[in-house]
């Protein structure tokens, strides 16, 4: 494995274009690591269909016409080694830290991290002629595209992601369960499902075991449909997991509901850490139970933490 240093977050700040970022991230990573990405082929001749008058004659099989006097059209099917559905949580909590890029702050928030990670994975998939689709959800499934491997599809997917970064969705709660069930229903072929979410779902934060079961049954639905699932738990580790705030009064604002609480950070640190630990542990345990790969992705680390688990999983699949 090459020991190439990946592009740093500071360097990334200079790029505004997702496709360029994706290229930078991946190329720093794959040198020496990847075997030839070009295996398999992109289209396969799948069937003959009777020609309908008026249709383009471009795909008519003339050899068959010569032999049988009947016109048949050749139909091709996109052939791919892997189908991958990238699912990105686009709820309001993903726009934390809100002041990303401001003076003295890291230039990245969770949605931007998830979008660059998703774009990098798509870039890699495209290089391997693998098909990928994108789903975006918040309180409902907002976007769902079928898996394809064309260049135009790739650009369209990047545009969807870019739009999400540029236009923050405020006060949109997370309701992952319904969206994941819908995605599971809509994926007809066995796919690798990669989810980017902070998992700050209403089910998780409410602590209601019934709602929690709903969420996990949605994840189980994906597994039941024979999909492989990787869940990237996107977090701002410093603030969200370690609660590293100075000891002074803060106003904490819930990004999904707008609710405000005034607190001295040290007063709640202990309970917060306990609660967060329990929350993470539940997530990890349930994912392990359902054989879902759970990977913690800290937005202040580099993108190796995303690309490596993906490659390991892909290596196991084929």
């Amino acid at each position: 494995m090459a020991n190439q240093s990946l592009i740093t977050l500071q360097e990334l700040h200079h790029f505004d274009h997702l496709s360029l970022m994706a290229k930078q991230v991946v190329e720093g990573f794959i040198i020496g690591l990847h075997k030839s990405p070009f295996h398999g082929f992109s289209v396969e001749f799948a069937e003959h269909r009777l020609y309908n008058p008026g249709e383009s004659v471009r795909n008519v099989d003339w050899k068959v016409y010569g032999r049988t006097d009947r016109m048949y059209v050749k139909k091709f099917e996109e052939e791919t080694n892997l189908r991958c559905q990238i699912v990105v949580d686009a709820s309001s909590s993903m726009y934390y830290p809100e002041n990303a890029g401001a003076k003295g702050e890291a230039p990245i928030n969770k949605i931007r991290f998830a979008a660059v990670s998703a774009a990098s994975l798509m870039y890699m998939l495209r290089m391997q002629r693998d098909a990928f689709g994108l789903s975006l959800f918040s309180d409902q499934l907002e976007q769902h595209t079928q898996a394809r491997s064309t260049r135009i599809h790739y650009q369209l997917m990047l545009q969807y992601l870019q739009d999400r970064i540029n236009e923050p969705h405020l006060n949109k709660p997370t309701q992952a369960a319904d969206s994941l069930h819908l995605i599971a229903d809509r994926l007809h072929r066995r796919s690798l499902v990669i989810i980017f979410s902070d998992m700050l779902d209403q089910a998780m934060t409410s602590g209601s075991s019934e709602k929690l079961d709903d969420l996990f049954s949605a994840l189980q639905h994906l597994k039941y449909n024979k999909h492989e699932v990787i869940l990237f738990h996107v977090v701002d580790k410093k603030h969200e997991l370690d609660f590293a705030f100075d000891n002074r009064p803060y106003v904490f604002v819930d990004m999904e509901t707008g609710e405000k609480v005034r607190l001295q950070s040290n007063q709640v640190k202990k309970q917060y850490l306990e609660h967060m630990q329990a929350f993470k542990k539940t997530l990890e345990l349930r994912c392990a139970q359902y054989k879902i790969d759970f990977v913690e992705a800290d937005i202040h680390q580099d993108f190796k933490q995303i690309l490596q688990p993906y490659l390991v999983k892909r290596g196991k699949l084929y």
């Binding site: 396969e44 799948a46 069937e47 003959h48 269909r49 009777l50 068959v64 049988t68 139909k75 099917e77």
Partner: protein, 105 residues
């Protein structure tokens, strides 16, 4: 060996029997049909006695093909109690065909 189904023996071998029938509509000039032909043969051996697995040459047996509105080949029909219960249009892997067959056994 998969059965040769013709316009003449169709009723007797497919309709007037109680097993699931798997019919592969093909033609000798069709490349994708050749891809799935070995799978059909293998299924015929593996499911001998459990299902009726047959091949219909659409050039010689237009009657059956027209009856089921076959416009694309290869098409594999899964017929149970005289009714089409499932269908696979285009080349597919053996596992796809087998899974469909199993679900109707």
């Amino acid at each position: 060996m998969a059965l040769e189904i013709t316009d003449n023996n169709f009723e007797e071998t497919v309709i007037n029997q109680d097993k699931v029938a798997v019919l592969d509509f093909w033609a000798d000039w069709c490349g994708p049909c050749k891809v799935i032909a070995p799978f059909i043969e293998e299924l015929a051996q593996e499911y001998d006695g459990k299902a009726v697995i047959g091949k219909v040459n659409v050039d010689d047996n237009g009657g059956v093909a027209i009856k089921y509105g076959i416009r694309n080949i290869p098409t594999v029909l899964f017929i149970k109690d005289g009714k089409v219960v499932d269908k696979q249009v285009g080349a597919a892997s053996k596992s796809v065909l087998e899974e469909k067959l199993k679900s109707h056994l």
